[in-house]
Amino acid sequence: MSNLIPRLSDLLFRHCGFSVPQGFAESYVKLHDSDWYRAQDHWERVVVRVLNSTAVPESADDEQAMRIAVTAAATGLHNSPLRTRCSLCVSEGRPS
């Protein structure tokens, strides 16, 4: 398993070792008008925010940190009001 932030396409079409809610990647890309590039950009920025948050234990090594952050970010995006709108799209002035 790579320790990099996973691509949404890998989360959707591959078993890349990360645990995310069923249907997350597909609905997140659709939330971005099926624009893979913009969805990936926003996904990476959300994961970085989670990596810099207290959701990741201080003692976690790089592999654990990425695994925890990806799961937390995907779960947070999928099970919150952000499911119907992307805050990064809103901040960029895009009605989402």
Partner: protein
């Protein structure tokens, strides 16, 4: 890193993703640095910026006052006032006192902390495998 096009039978109602472009891969790698903790993260983010600034200052001085003088000024052997371009040499001298020890200290600190924290890293099962007595 490239992603194959989705199978026809996946049932996903999306256009196929295109392969990751080099700048996208680089950006993803850069953002993934956030997974590191402590000194390693500092070295790869702020530390690398400091190192680039110091290298730029050293190279600039190398062209201005000569490489040997640049080295002497950076490690405090020669006074910057004794060079042909004292203004830029003073910047290198101050950076040699402040920045270089910071970077070197961070590298040494990282190496030491890595050695300390990974001291007991061998799994117990590796020493006494379950089927060793069979």
């Amino acid at each position: 890193m490239s992603t194959p096009p989705p199978d026809a039978g996946t049932g996903v109602d999306l256009p196929p993703p295109r392969p990751e472009r080099p700048h996208e891969a680089l950006r993803r790698r850069w953002r993934s640095i956030a997974r590191y903790r402590g000194l390693r993260h500092w070295l790869l983010t702020r530390g690398s910026v400091v190192a680039v600034l110091y290298t730029g200052l050293f190279v600039g001085n190398g062209f201005a006052i000569g490489w040997r003088h640049a080295y002497d000024v950076s490690v405090g052997i020669t006074s910057p006032a004794a060079t042909s371009a004292p203004v830029v040499a003073w910047f290198l001298s101050v950076a040699g006192w402040l920045l270089a020890p910071g970077i070197a200290g961070a590298v040494a600190g990282y190496a030491l902390s890595h050695a300390i924290t990974s001291r007991r890293s061998v799994p117990f099962e590796e020493i006494f495998p379950p089927d060793a007595d069979e």
